[in-house]
Symmetry: C2
DNA sequence: TCGTTGCGTTCCATGTTGCAACCCGCTATG
DNA sequence: CATAGCGGGTTGCAACATGGAACGCAACGA
């Protein structure tokens, strides 16, 4: 059956997954960053089927992660380039790389590395808190409703137990 | 047809996507973090089908992101809990939340927020470089082969053009 | 006894995937 | 001037995967 869409979910994560929760989309974005921008390039490097690729590109363009830009007129040919939104997504994907390295490869045997374009220094992504700069430890984090969480108290209480235990003024 | 597996891909990203490149798996992990650990809980909160849930849980346990732990014997009932690997994955998922917020919701209207368990302070995930602490900007980053990249020069050169242009000693 | 909770499995109508084949406009080759 | 080739798709099809509902089944509880 049709894949469930999370486009209207009250959850930032779910919405992101609507686009990035897929095997191909992230890889296509990666290829764009590598400098592969054309249909044939994706085909070659990813081993994806032509029809699937067509669909994915269309989706990524619709969702604003890529722009389709002509590079010649006769015959019309296009390149796909990352938008600011696409770059934002890429950052998160880069955060995914150390995870893969850590759990799928021997230490020091990663197949791919990131480098700074200016200095040539190696770059290792980590997820930290913006204010403290401390790496995130989910065990020390809890989740609470934000400004636009649906206001059914029953739902909220059940879902964010810890939050309501803490904010006992209610 | 069957989804292509990236389990043997020479790419950390692809391998990560083998597990996380899916709509449900990340959401299941999230629920575990919320304190939802049982079959019925997932069912309720996610609106996922029972059969799909069964499969996903099995996969997540096989892949070592969750452990299945009995909480009663008669009849045998189980809870699913995050492993260290699962927590690692969660960190990356948390990095995905600001992306969803930024591009899918009005500013200041996010439905969900993260807080520090100790201090109660709000937490905002960012992806930075481990050494400099600077936020990642993909435009300033290029990708090169690591220690275990397959040694076909043809492939490498084509793929990591920028890397080889830079390291012109070859 | 009957109903309910918790956790699955089985079945089925649709979708989605991957692969191969085809198409179409243009260009380079002989 | 035929024809082969390239870039960029669309179409057709068989093999799965998905979501929904129905069924199973053991242990309570009333």
């Amino acid at each position: 059956m049709e894949r469930k869409s999370f486009a209207d979910a009250h959850c930032s994560l779910a919405r992101s997954l609507d686009v990035l929760g897929d095997w191909w989309n992230p890889l296509i974005l990666r290829e764009c960053h590598y400098g592969v921008n054309r249909f044939d390039g994706f085909l070659q490097w990813l081993g994806i089927g032509r029809n699937i690729l067509t669909r994915r590109l269309k989706l990524l363009v619709e969702q604003g992660l890529l722009v389709k830009r002509p590079y010649q007129d006769n015959p019309p040919r296009f390149e796909y380039h990352l938008t600011p939104k696409g770059y934002d997504a890429l950052v998160v994907l880069m955060a995914l790389m150390p995870f893969g390295e850590k759990w799928s490869f021997e230490r020091g045997k990663e197949p791919i590395r990131l480098y700074d374009r200016q200095t040539g220094r190696r770059i290792r992504p980590v997820v930290v808190d913006r204010d403290t700069g401390e790496p995130l430890d989910p065990r020390e984090i809890y989740t609470g409703p934000g400004p636009s969480f649906p206001r059914s108290a029953r739902v909220r209480r059940a879902r964010f137990r810890e939050y309501y235990e803490r904010n006992t003024e209610e």
